[in-house]
């Protein structure tokens, strides 16, 4: 069971209570949204990395050395 913990800084009392159904639903919705956003970011990053690799391969095919390609991408 998921619990919420509250530390009262004034009294030092720590309260632990089970999450309400509304809190569980809200957390699940937020988690799904965060996971989707992270997946989207990972897909975008992978696309950028793939495009960079493709561009470097094309530059190499044109005769540029690895050092010259590295200088271009810095």
């Amino acid at each position: 069971m998921s619990v919420a913990i509250e530390v009262n800084c004034e009294t030092g009392v720590v309260t632990e209570r089970p999450l309400t159904a509304e809190e569980i639903a809200a957390n699940e919705a937020a988690a799904a949204q965060a996971a989707a956003a992270q997946h989207e970011a990972e897909v975008a990053a992978a696309a950028v990395a793939e495009a960079k690799a493709n561009a470097e391969a094309k530059l190499a095919a044109l005769g540029l050395t690895a050092e010259e390609i590295a200088a271009l991408t810095k």
Partner: protein, 172 residues
């Protein structure tokens, strides 16, 4: 010499928890520092921590961050977030018994103005691609800060052993 860096409250989890809240934060300090060593039970890699100021989940948070994982570097910004984003957290997919570290600095928390805060998040994972984020954030609502709530971004829980420490800074 006065003690200018004082522990206000702390909590070390002895069980899993979906949230940890520091409430009734005293107004007797100048700044606040939040130190977190945490891990969530998310099955996949990477998780973040949501910071809610005064319990607010309104779209009033903004951020600019720079980040890197040893292989690639990046930066991005987001506005109108529903929470302060503390990224780069360890999960159930991380190396066993390895937690990520986060420090949040909240200056002038008693001011009745928009609140900026800065944070550093480090994913310690014995890996060449473990990540670090440095983030500048804002909480665009006025009023003194009296509570801070932390939730996993995905989780849904912080695992046992996660620890949360709130410190107060005095200027004299």
């Amino acid at each position: 010499m006065p003690s200018t860096y004082q522990l206000i409250s702390s909590n070390v989890l002895t069980t899993t928890a979906a949230s940890v809240t520091f409430s009734a934060i005293p107004s007797t300090y100048t700044d606040l520092v939040l130190r977190i060593s945490a891990k969530t039970d998310r099955a996949n890699a990477n998780d973040g921590i949501k910071l809610l100021v005064n319990g607010s989940s309104a779209s009033v948070y903004g951020e600019r961050n720079v980040n890197g994982n040893g292989a690639t570097a990046g930066s991005n910004g987001n506005a109108n977030l529903a929470y302060g984003a503390l990224r780069s957290g360890a999960t159930g997919a991380s190396t066993a018994n390895v937690f990520s570290s986060t420090e949040v600095y909240l200056p002038n928390y008693n001011d009745a103005t928009i609140h900026p805060f800065g944070s550093i998040q480090v994913q310690e994972d014995n890996s060449t691609t473990a990540r670090i984020f440095a983030t500048a954030s804002t909480f665009n609502t006025s009023g003194a800060i009296t509570s801070l709530t932390l939730n996993p971004e995905t989780g849904p829980n912080f695992v046992s052993g996660s620890s949360f420490y709130l410190y107060g800074i005095k200027n004299s």
